[in-house]
């Protein structure tokens, strides 16, 4: 065929492989995960996620520099996420609506559901993609810092235990934050409104938590103040981390002792269940529309 002539070969049947639902699920996870970082989308939609990734990495870079130059450990692994919670919140608000809103707004959903993809497949793939996106955002800087610590060869043993605890906690953060953010975002097909709803939820939760904890602390009721901290999803997960891995609490007041740890874990599970149930209800309705 070196003549360079284009032949119209007519319609060809597809005789190749037809893979199952698992393939479609994986493809949808990858597609959504790439989309969460603006990959495969316009150049403009890459700006925000990449800016946030860079901002998340800045403390890690600073920490490595301090370790290399001053031989001092500055930022811990266990409190990295709570320290950076505004950045994480912006990422959740900016990117979670992208995963769910366009398919609802532009009515792409029926095209998925007229294929072997089911509603649970679709919702599951979106949740898995968002969990992976949040995990990449928060686990990358923690891991970069740890690799830095190993390379710099600090005096004393490396903080491997704290790092591994923080990594496990990152998974809990990712699951909780992804389920909540997607559930909130899925309730409006408009992306702008979704962004506002998600950010409002986290600001409200952390604001209410800070105010109430402050009030009870000033009344010298530090036990109640500790419970109030758990209204903030970030401190809720941190309380679980303190309980499970014995890390230093990141909050201004100590978390409630005794039943506090198990209750925080139950709280995390409750939020995740609520988020998933809300998503299931939302999509059951959307699918029959």
């Amino acid at each position: 065929m070196s003549t360079g002539v284009i032949h119209d070969i007519g319609y060809r049947r597809y005789e190749g492989a037809r893979l199952g639902r698992r393939h479609a699920f994986t493809a949808l996870v990858v597609h959504s995960l790439r989309g969460a970082f603006g990959l495969g989308r316009t150049a403009r939609s890459k700006i925000v996620p990449f800016l946030l990734v860079i901002v998340m990495l800045l403390p890690a870079v600073v920490a490595i520099a301090v370790m290399a130059l001053a031989q001092q450990r500055s930022i811990g692994y266990s409190n990295y996420v709570t320290l950076m919670q505004p950045v994480v919140m912006i990422f959740l608000a900016a990117q979670s609506p992208y995963l769910v809103a366009p398919d609802l707004r532009f009515r792409v959903l029926p095209l998925y559901l007229s294929r072997p993809v089911t509603v649970p497949d679709y919702v599951g793939a979106k949740v898995v993609a968002m969990i992976a996106a949040v995990l990449l955002l928060i686990a990358t800087p923690i891991t970069v810092t740890f690799v830095g610590e190993l390379l710099v060869n600090m005096p004393g043993p490396p903080r491997t235990g704290e790092y591994l605890g923080a990594l496990a906690t990152s998974v809990i953060y990712a699951v909780l934050l992804a389920a909540l953010s997607l559930a909130i975002a899925s309730f409006t097909p408009r992306r702008g409104l979704g962004v506002a709803s998600v950010i409002a939820f986290y600001l409200l939760a952390s604001g209410v938590s800070t105010v109430l904890a402050g009030v009870f602390a000033s009344l010298t009721d530090r036990a109640t103040a500790g419970w109030m901290l758990l209204i903030n999803p970030f401190f809720l997960v941190d309380a679980v981390q303190v309980w499970l891995f014995g890390s230093e609490p990141a909050a201004p007041f100590p978390y409630p002792g005794g039943a506090g740890g198990p209750v925080a874990l139950l709280g995390v599970l409750g939020w995740v269940a609520l988020g998933l149930l809300a998503l299931a209800a939302r999509y059951r309705k959307a699918a029959s529309a």
Partner: protein, 320 residues
């Protein structure tokens, strides 16, 4: 009797709280291009959604490609394609990316999905523009992308819901030609809906007419256009009187404006027309062999209850 059955419904019903969208529909569809005709709200889209397993029927059963909709919906969805009536395209991706993604959702591996997407977009007539964002497309181009995503996984049957909606006359012609090619050249069976009867006549092998969720008629195009021979009669004036006289003589007459379509029972029909015109002393302008169009069938069924009271309405393209 058709050699093979593509889909069959049996007493299929769907009741919504306030409206019955499908009412005991029993119909069989064979290979080729089948038109599903009915006014808006006649139950066409509801039928397609039930066949895809997106909506549960209130009663009745159906088989698509020999598979039961109640138990084999995933297998059905793997083997069919669906082009919805409504917009369903995200604006910020290119047609290529979108169709590749949809091919993967149908189970095609990534490389195969790329190849099939390029092929299919070429077949529906999207060329260089397929790399641009869909947001900037014309209605005609968007309809082509919607069609491409329905064909990309090489289904055995496609459901096309109002594919000519919103297109200008030229776009409509091109879409209809494409549908004809899908049925004839690609070898994919097509169920295409429209509320415009005339356009389906040009591409369908078989037409099903539904109204208010009920089956009005299901027959092949040849039956529609040949079995029901008519003769068109045009007189200078007095067509009302002529129609009345012909009916007295036992002929069935359908007024089409100033023309009368008279159903041919045999040679006696021609004699009846001749005699009636002579008796009434009318000036005959035209006496012509007419082939009934499928519109007439629909008009008949719609006008039937009113025929007694001398209804000369000619606008009845079907119940609203």
């Amino acid at each position: 009797m058709r050699s093979s059955t593509i889909l069959a419904t049996e007493g299929l019903s769907r009741r919504f709280p306030r409206v019955t969208a499908l009412d005991r529909l029993t119909v069989t569809v064979g290979p080729g291009v089948t038109g599903l005709v009915g006014a808006n709200g006649a139950g066409k889209s509801t039928l397609i959604k039930i066949l895809l397993g997106l909506l549960e029927p209130s009663a009745g059963t159906a088989q698509v490609l020999g598979m039961d909709i109640a138990t084999q919906a995933p297998e059905i969805r793997r083997a069919v394609g669906y082009m919805p009536e409504h917009d369903c395209l995200p604006p910020d991706v290119s047609a290529t990316e979108f169709v590749v993604h949809m091919a993967q959702m149908s189970g095609l591996p990534r490389t195969a999905a790329r190849e099939r997407a390029a092929d299919t977009l070429r077949h529906v007539g999207l060329h260089e523009e397929r790399y641009r964002s869909i947001g900037g497309y014309s209605t005609g181009m968007k309809q082509r992308v919607k069609l491409a995503q329905a064909l990309v996984h090489d289904p055995r049957l496609v459901f096309l819901d109002e594919p000519t909606n919103g297109l200008d006359p030229q776009g409509r012609d091109e879409m209809l030609a494409l549908i004809r090619r899908i049925g004839a050249e690609f070898g994919i069976s097509v169920l295409v809906t429209s509320h415009l009867l005339g356009e389906l006549e040009r591409v369908c092998d078989h037409v099903i007419v539904v109204d208010g969720g009920r089956l009005l008629r299901s027959s092949s195009i040849s039956e529609f256009t040949e079995a029901t021979q008519t003769v068109t009669v045009e007189v200078e004036e007095g067509e009302t009187v002529l129609a009345a006289r012909l009916r007295e003589l036992g002929e069935s007459v359908v007024p089409h404006g100033r023309l009368l379509a008279v159903q041919v029972r045999g040679d006696e029909t021609y004699d009846a027309v001749r005699d009636a015109v002579c008796d009434l002393d009318l000036s005959l302008i035209r006496l012509e062999q007419g082939r009934r169009r499928i519109e007439d069938v629909f008009r008949d069924s719609a006008a039937e209850p009113r025929r007694a009271d001398d209804d000369m309405a000619t606008t009845g393209r079907g119940p609203a």
